[in-house]
Subunit: 439 residues, 2 copies
Amino acid sequence: MDAKGKYGVALVGCGIVGGGTARVLTEDRIYLQERTGIPLYLKYIVDRNYDNARAIGIPEELYEEDYNKVLEDPDVFLVIELIGGLTVAKKMMTKALKAGKHVVTANKALMAHYGPELFALARKEKVTIGFEASCGGGIPIVKALTDGLLANKIEAIFGIVNGTCNHILTEMTDKGESYQEALKSAQKAGLAEADPTLDVSGMDSAHKLTILGSLAFGERVDLDSIPVEGIDTLDLYDIKTGRELGYIMKLLAIGQQTKKGLALSVAPAFVHTSHPLARVSGAFNAVSVYGHAVGHTMYMGRGAGSSPTASAVVADIIATALGITPKAFESLSFWPDRTEKAKQLAPEDLTSRYYLRFMVKDRPGTVARISSILSDNGISITSLLQKEEARDTIPLVMTTHQAREGAITQALNKIEGLEETASPPIYIRIIEEHPESVI
Amino acid sequence: MDAKGKYGVALVGCGIVGGGTARVLTEDRIYLQERTGIPLYLKYIVDRNYDNARAIGIPEELYEEDYNKVLEDPDVFLVIELIGGLTVAKKMMTKALKAGKHVVTANKALMAHYGPELFALARKEKVTIGFEASCGGGIPIVKALTDGLLANKIEAIFGIVNGTCNHILTEMTDKGESYQEALKSAQKAGLAEADPTLDVSGMDSAHKLTILGSLAFGERVDLDSIPVEGIDTLDLYDIKTGRELGYIMKLLAIGQQTKKGLALSVAPAFVHTSHPLARVSGAFNAVSVYGHAVGHTMYMGRGAGSSPTASAVVADIIATALGITPKAFESLSFWPDRTEKAKQLAPEDLTSRYYLRFMVKDRPGTVARISSILSDNGISITSLLQKEEARDTIPLVMTTHQAREGAITQALNKIEGLEETASPPIYIRIIEEHPESVI
């Protein structure tokens, strides 16, 4: 591990993922070199404190507090940015790119907020940014979109891209826990942060949709253009009722190409049990990608965690060293610094099936009045569920055929105004198998 | 589409997959060039007859009967081999490689039988062979193993890699059809050949395991070293009974690294309904890959068909043109012309859970005698199912804890010799979630 090799790397940020990456790079160094022909070696670890590095036994001689010294070292061909967050990470990545170092990162927030700007800088400096680890942890989904599926026009992506939310929803579905109970057990198991807002609000999923959507559709997806709903306001009643009707609740990041533009959203949705995404449980992530030639493909794996994310980070380093990432970055036209802002479908023009739930006072004619408002708005019902209950206010559940979201919200506004309606109606998208255009 | 571009390709064999490939290359030519920066164009189609090419409207001026002329054309940088079979395909691929042309193929039989020899020739001639389309149709599984998962030591792969078998098994499981009924309906639907032997015997899956296993484990898997069982002798009774016990029957291609060597097999197996592979239905394929860092990842998609396979073929062409395939072929050490023959686990040393079914005469003490033979061989039972039936010969079903396959066959031989046993006992592996070594 001396200074003779040209493939020295510097790791900035040695927390959970950084620690896993440091372990793979040190413990598997010989294996990786034999396997790939690249004499990769970890030369520096830069952090504010080295407690975690020490705890997992990373040699002290790698610790370096002077980031400038690292960037001046010609043996370092690549900087691994794993500190997370926006401000400091952006500064450090910018410095690395300007110093002519390739960068590999797992930072989805950074790539979602500043991807186009950072890609443009990397291009100017003739280096690259690897960001496989920013979406879906160890799942090689970025590689699928930038390599394996290159021959396709991507028609839709549906992603379970937040393991915390998927774990919470799985517990609610399988064990009947309330959102609060499931959140607490996820926190205990280390699967949710003390402040889980970024995850449960859907914002983390939106970061990933920004990144994946831009690559998939060859149009730049801007983070602030995505309508985002989280799982923190979900009612267990709907999860249970949906389950009875054959649907599993998932937080989905969705991008669908339509004739009128790209439909983007992050929201809880019901997925039919026969769809492979319905069976992606616990902390696992999965992304369904529909291409005009390949049809439906799905990629599943651990969306977070130390070593799964390290798997993606190290694969990116190798692909950069092999010249594969540079070649793709140079040739392919759909990196978000090269594309125009996506032409988006107006949310009210989205067509989907819906699950509707009304809380109504148990009076004669209520179902008729609600049904006729839906019908007046062109919404047709596929199923209706009202159980006999000895309460004044009872839930009335309906599922619809394909309907415009604009029609749904319009109808629901009217229904909310009815005297019989006790609380605002709930509507949740139902996702069925996306049509495949394979020949 | 004149001779000025350097990225002319020649398509040899314009059948189902060839036709799909020709369509993507012609209809999407502009799109592909804009997307990838590569001015790819289809210059020749070589075939014995052009009926299919005509039927799908491929321009006549592309038809060329003189293969030598094609190989002498300096504008052709790559030959797409899609004729299938062994003898002619091998001759034509060899000629192409010797003429200094890159090759892309969907021919699993050829790659399984002659991969190492052909890779060695390609290396000598400084060209490459792309074979993504040979395994799992449009699923970028070869790319996952040679790129996205590079940082891993692969611990196991479990693949549903034959769509015909998966379709037949899905029909048997979901509709209760017999093997013969399901085969006939698959043939009617164009999902099975008139002579389905290669598929239903498991041999096609063995071809794919040869290819994927060699890449995954970095040891050369020889086709003739894989024990192969097909689905053609399966009894609907076992599929139904397994289903009651919570298992779905799948034909699996399995490679597992163990301390004593690589355990390879193609055989019908019971997959627990909670495993994502259990939900891969109909003509879909999927491969679960377990890596020491990434844990469990799964890749799903259409394993055959015109345009899904074309998706993989065209992606390979682009990766070759971009220089990505050549770089990987040059640098990575685990191509099967560079590795040693896999050290294999003796089949009798394989440890697994098993489903056992005995056909026994309904006499007192039978269960006790069978159980004690199992117990004498160190096999312990997890469940036992015997239904009340008014017949002389009745099925007795058991599932076991982990047991050595050698112990199972030894015990079953003894049980077969019992006077109460009416026909040879059946044993089928039960696949549970493979342990993950993620940190």
